[in-house]
Subunit: 122 residues, 2 copies
DNA sequence: TCGAAGGTTCACATCGATGTCAACGTCAAG
DNA sequence: CTTGACGTTGACATCGATGTGAACCTTCGA
């Protein structure tokens, strides 16, 4: 599919799809006329990218993370440099911390909302 | 404590502590000489703010969220406008989505790292 | 008393993500 | 053949978070 359809399907402006490509997060093939051609599976990838961006990861990190979340890429297990492994471990730990922080605050909000609701019943 | 010590304790530059105040996330009292004076408990608050910022929440949202995560503020349950309640529910749901996305990707990274390690043992 | 350390405000710079616009090429339908 | 929808690249603008520096005030210890 071309960029317009991908944009419609994902709700992400074409501007950003091009930006993600520039950042190395998305690599559509080019048609003879120069148009970008996106495989269907890239819809999911775009959503994954959005999720990670929304969760606060910079594109630089997402670029490292994406390959290891691709099933087919699990084959490339062996060519992971020590450096990359270290980076990924650090990133995993940061994500743990973020998850914990988010969860704690979400729980606090949820508890608060429950109290509000309880108070309104009276 | 004054801003320098808070900065040392939290590792956050004074510039940002002032910025958080400007954004309404932190409200130190002022000493006679105009210096900011931070209560001890604000150390925790700063860390909470950092966690939420790192998790991708903008200061605008954090400002709404913080009050409901303060225990003493649970007393103010009654003065929650419908609007705020809706905003908080939406925010809670977004946080849910972020947590899920982060967890999925962290799990993928963790699985990848385990594979790498297994491959290296051989 | 003087200087260093740390505080204040204000302004401007930077950086990443995103919006917007200009100038132009491609393609399908009337 | 032309028009309109859609694509291309490139430049510049904006917005939020953060860095940096100037000009100035306060406190404290030599």
């Amino acid at each position: 599919m071309r960029i317009g359809e991908l944009s419609r399907r994902t709700g992400i402006p074409t501007r950003l799809l091009r930006y993600y490509e520039e950042q190395g997060l998305l690599t559509p093939v080019r048609l003879a006329n120069g148009y970008r051609d996106y495989a269907d599976r890239l819809v999911d990838r775009v959503e994954q990218i959005r999720g990670l961006l929304d969760a606060g990861l910079p594109t630089r990190v997402i670029r490292e993370v994406l390959p290891c979340t691709d099933n087919p890429c699990t084959i490339t297990v062996t060519d992971a440099s020590d450096e990359l492994v270290g980076l990924l471990e650090a990133e995993r730990d940061k994500m743990d911390a973020r998850i914990e922080c988010l969860a704690r605050n979400r729980d606090a909000i949820a508890a608060y909302l429950r109290q509000v609701e309880a108070a309104r019943k009276r």
